[in-house]
């Protein structure tokens, strides 16, 4: 299979403009003849729905929650990057592009990342126009702060609730189009399959989560904006219902899955406690602007933090990386935390945490200043941990947060299945092997507000799309397969719950395909995962019926897919023998234990093709060409 990324020719800075001119247009009168399905209402899905509806397309939008406003983008805390250069500190589109490529450890496409940096400024403009209450300076201009992997201050924020405010902005734009009748909203629907007719994406089937009915919808194109698959690990910062079913079904229908092993482990999360724990809570990276990370120098030092004198503390990030200090990229910060804890210097009951200390910042700026910047985060921490972070340093540890991998898409954000577009975290395109902080919000909104409105029309203009009815055999087949799978799950009546299997899978993935990976552990995971899957299909118990409101069945359906996807992640991790970004292969590290890339052999996107559940997937490579940046060993010293 030849993977054509359809990257426009010409100089980097002119590619997007040139491409926009070359794309075919659909006239305003014809746009209303097209029906578009959008699955997911996070930043990418809701911004796409609003923008496409504004253009005149008829949108059918689907989400699993009771309202589109609840998608998990809502939980993003710290901010959104843009190359505005308002602080006059030397930022530019090219610098944002460069930082993002470098932060991703040179495993993303130059053209995509450059476009992302280009539209970043328009995103801020549009969000302000929609009434997003970004933080402001006293003169009334927008305030910014710094994030990991950057030496400029380019992150715009709304307290510690930036994702919420941006999502509510896009949700409000969507609400306007719902009011105008251009978007039909279908909440509490879970996608079960993508329908292909003549090889093109022409519809979906969904489960109505209230009635249990399987419903069929047709369209001229299908857009998936269903988020990431971090919940493969069971414990992650994702929402409980975040799942991979949409992209997994697309993969099984022939869409390629790119870089599945690229997982971001976020360094600052509230540490795990107890076996009953249902999720991990992130403490925004923005806290590293003012908080200092440290551990006691002496392993096993159990004294309270305030009893450990300054000279007996190791501020290991500041010591090791003087130029970036506490603001090194996420993968670097996470690995260093693990290294300290593995060496016995971890703190807290479990020994698996490090301190994030605000003492110096409070001394410098006062408690009120810290409260106005991070008040809601401190409050959240106190609620969960029952300790006051203004007085006692926070305890933090890395946790699964984001998946850079996703469905393979070309420059137009279309997968290799014609008419199937993939936006936001669900695609693989912009973050390489590690995403920088405050770039997820940027990418989601770039894809939805500014990319897809241009590229979708070109696809529609080029096609002859015959009408498709919901009684087409493709619909019938998918419908009966989904129903059969549900009946099977309900009929097993085994001895173990879905959650129990999910936890077991999560442990296997965290231990063998987590922050550090090696061939031996990965091989082991390849034996363990199919065994768990086999037992799941023999011994799971799912109460209730399929024609009813049944949250256990929803969960079982999602976990069944995670049990398959996990294996693909391990295959990818095993095949990529280099370290890069968040993918750290112990066999490939520098003398200073940093990730060591192998550009000669692995400067490619690994795109996997489905070959059946029990067969090894087939690897296709899209070689990455770097014409504008020099590949270097990342250094944040």
């Amino acid at each position: 299979m030849h993977l054509d990324a359809k990257i426009p020719s010409g100089p980097l800075a002119e590619k997007w403009d040139k491409h926009k001119f070359d794309l075919k247009l659909v006239s305003p009168a014809n746009k209303r003849k097209f029906n578009i399905i959008i699955v997911g209402t996070g930043l990418a899905g809701s911004s796409a729905a609003a923008s496409l509806a504004e253009l005149g397309y008829n949108i059918q939008s689907f989400c699993i929650q009771d309202s589109p406003r609840r998608a998990h983008s809502i939980a993003a805390q710290g901010g959104i990057n843009a190359a505005k250069n308002y602080p006059n500190d030397g930022d530019s589109i090219h610098r944002l592009f460069y930082d993002t490529i470098k932060g991703g450890d040179f495993r993303s496409r130059e053209a995509n990342v450059y476009r992302l940096a280009q539209v970043s400024n328009q995103i801020i403009d549009h969000c302000v126009a929609l009434g997003v209450p970004f933080a402001r300076e006293y003169g009334g201009g927008l305030a910014t702060r710094s994030f990991g992997g950057a030496q400029v201050s380019r992150t715009f924020y709304a307290r510690g609730q930036t994702g919420q405010q941006l999502l509510l902005g896009a949700y409000s734009a969507m609400s306007r189009q719902i009011h105008l009748g251009k978007i039909t909203m279908f909440p509490r629907r879970e996608i079960l399959d993508i329908i292909l007719v003549d090889g093109k994406a022409r519809g979906i089937i969904v489960r109505n989560l209230i009635t249990g009915d399987i419903e069929r919808y047709t369209a001229h194109a299908v857009i998936l904006a269903t988020g990431g698959y971090g919940n493969v690990f069971n414990l992650s910062t994702n929402a409980i219902a975040s799942n991979a079913t949409a992209i997994w079904k697309a993969y099984q229908k022939g869409a390629l899955f790119a870089n599945p092993c690229f997982t971001q482990i976020h360094p600052t999360c509230i540490p795990v406690h107890g076996t009953y724990q249902s999720k991990l809570t992130l403490m925004s990276e923005s806290l590293r602007n003012d908080g200092r990370v440290w551990v006691p120098k002496k392993p096993g030092d159990k004294r309270a933090p305030e009893d450990i004198p300054e000279e007996q503390r190791s501020y290991y990030l500041e010591e090791k990386y003087p130029s970036f200090g506490n603001l090194v990229p996420r993968d670097v910060a996470s690995r260093n935390a693990k290294e300290q804890c593995d060496a016995g210097r971890g703190v807290g009951d479990t020994g698996f945490s490090v301190y994030l200390d605000f003492h110096d910042a409070i001394k410098r700026m006062g408690e009120d200043a810290i409260r106005s910047k991070y008040g809601n985060l401190f409050q959240m921490y106190e609620k969960i941990v029952a300790e006051n972070p203004y007085k006692t340093p926070m305890k933090i540890y890395p946790a699964v947060h984001y998946t850079m991998g996703g469905l393979w898409v070309d420059y137009n954000l279309m997968s290799n299945i014609p008419g199937l577009f993939v936006l936001g975290e669900a695609n693989f395109s912009d973050h390489g092997a590690n995403r920088l902080g405050a770039s997820a919000l940027m990418q989601g909104l770039a894809d939805g507000y500014f990319v897809i409105p241009n590229t979708l029309g070109n696809y529609l203009a080029e096609q002859t799309l015959n009408p498709v009815e919901t009684d087409h055999p493709s619909f019938q087949d998918s419908h009966s397969q989904a129903l059969e799978k549900m009946h099977k799950l309900l009929a097993i009546k085994g001895k173990r719950t879905v959650d129990d299997f999910h936890k077991e899978l999560g442990h296997v993935m965290w231990d063998n395909c987590g922050m550090q990976r090696n061939a031996k552990d990965l091989e082991k995971a390849l034996e363990l995962i199919p065994a768990i899957r086999e037992e799941f299909w023999k011994n799971v118990t799912v109460p209730g019926n399929n024609d009813d409101f049944n949250q256990s069945l929803e969960k079982a359906y999602r976990v069944a897919d995670f049990l398959e996807l996990a294996e693909l992640m391990v295959h990818d991790a095993l095949a990529r023998k280099e370290s890069c970004g968040g993918h750290f292969r112990e066999e490939s590290q520098t003398d200073e234990n940093e990730a060591k890339r192998d550009d000669k052999n692995y400067s490619h996107v690994a795109a996997w093709e489905y070959q059946g559940i029990e067969s090894k997937p087939r690897l296709h490579k899209e070689n990455l060409k770097f014409e504008n940046v020099q590949l270097t060993q990342r250094s944040y010293k």
Binding site: R159, M185, A239
Partner: protein
């Protein structure tokens, strides 16, 4: 964290569907860690029910970090439970004592019909926003974000209102089932910001009409909403909402 285990008696509202009769069912639960969240405690109970082949308790939840607004129930008569400024997912069992009996019910409001057990239909809140809780700015035509300076104080006040998570606690706690705090927060946010001024009369007018149409009650200054709001949104936003409404009555041509 000083973790310990407690035993609890739970009386949970069970109702199989919107049109069948519900009742409180009693469950005993031992070994509840005080570090658990309230929802994790229900997870543990649901695991036990599942293994006994009983129907687990249906409840809405998603982010479990107090921001998505999906979760919510009435705990011992209080919406989102006894802690202030807390969603149900952020309520931890350390606030309960060994031997407690806890009554768990769904949000009770005519505007929020029950779907199953603790799950209710809050789509009325979306319809309020659809009626006018937005600025009609289409993608692509915006001026530079810094072209319009907004004083810090104004931006902060707008943000106070915008912090609403749309959980519906205000409606559920109000004796009139009024959505004035929810709607007021949105109207207030957009009325404060210069970008929202162009549509301010039309917005407040359509939202008030929509609330009436959907069966939400009016505000009679009970202040229950403010007391239960997990994001501590002040009823001063209701006051601004009322002022906006009165103002619109005088200046608006569209009614």
């Amino acid at each position: 964290m000083s973790e310990k285990n407690i035993s609890l008696t739970l009386r949970v509202w069970r109702q199989a569907g919107p049109h069948v009769k519900g009742q409180l069912i009693t469950y005993h639960l031992d070994d509840v860690s005080t570090d658990m969240s309230f929802l994790e405690m229900i997870d543990v109970l649901n695991e036990k029910l599942t293994l006994r082949d009983e129907d687990p308790i249906a409840f809405d939840h998603d982010c479990r970090e107090g921001i998505c607004g999906m979760c919510g129930a009435v705990v011992d008569g209080q919406v989102h439970g006894p802690e202030t400024a807390t969603t149900l997912c952020q309520l931890h069992m350390r606030h309960f004592t060994d031997g407690d009996t806890i009554i768990v019910e769904p949000f009770r409001s005519r505007a929020f019909p029950i779907i199953k057990d603790l799950v209710v239909d809050r789509s009325g809140l979306d319809k309020i926003i659809q009626a006018g809780g937005y600025i009609s700015a289409s993608t692509g035509g915006s001026t530079d974000a810094n072209a319009m300076p907004i004083p810090t104080q104004t931006a902060e006040e707008a943000m106070d209102a915008a912090a609403c998570i749309g959980c519906g606690a205000c409606v559920a706690s109000c004796p009139n089932a009024s959505a004035m705090l929810f709607a007021g927060a949105k109207v207030s946010q957009l009325a404060l910001l210069p970008q929202g001024k162009a549509e301010r009369e039309k917005r407040v007018w359509s939202i008030v009409h929509k609330m009436d149409e959907l069966g939400f009650g009016n505000c009679s200054n009970e202040r229950e909403c403010e007391a239960t709001c997990p994001k501590e949104i002040s009823i001063s936003h209701i006051a601004r909402f009322n002022r906006e409404f009165t103002r619109a009555a005088f200046v608006s041509r569209e009614k």
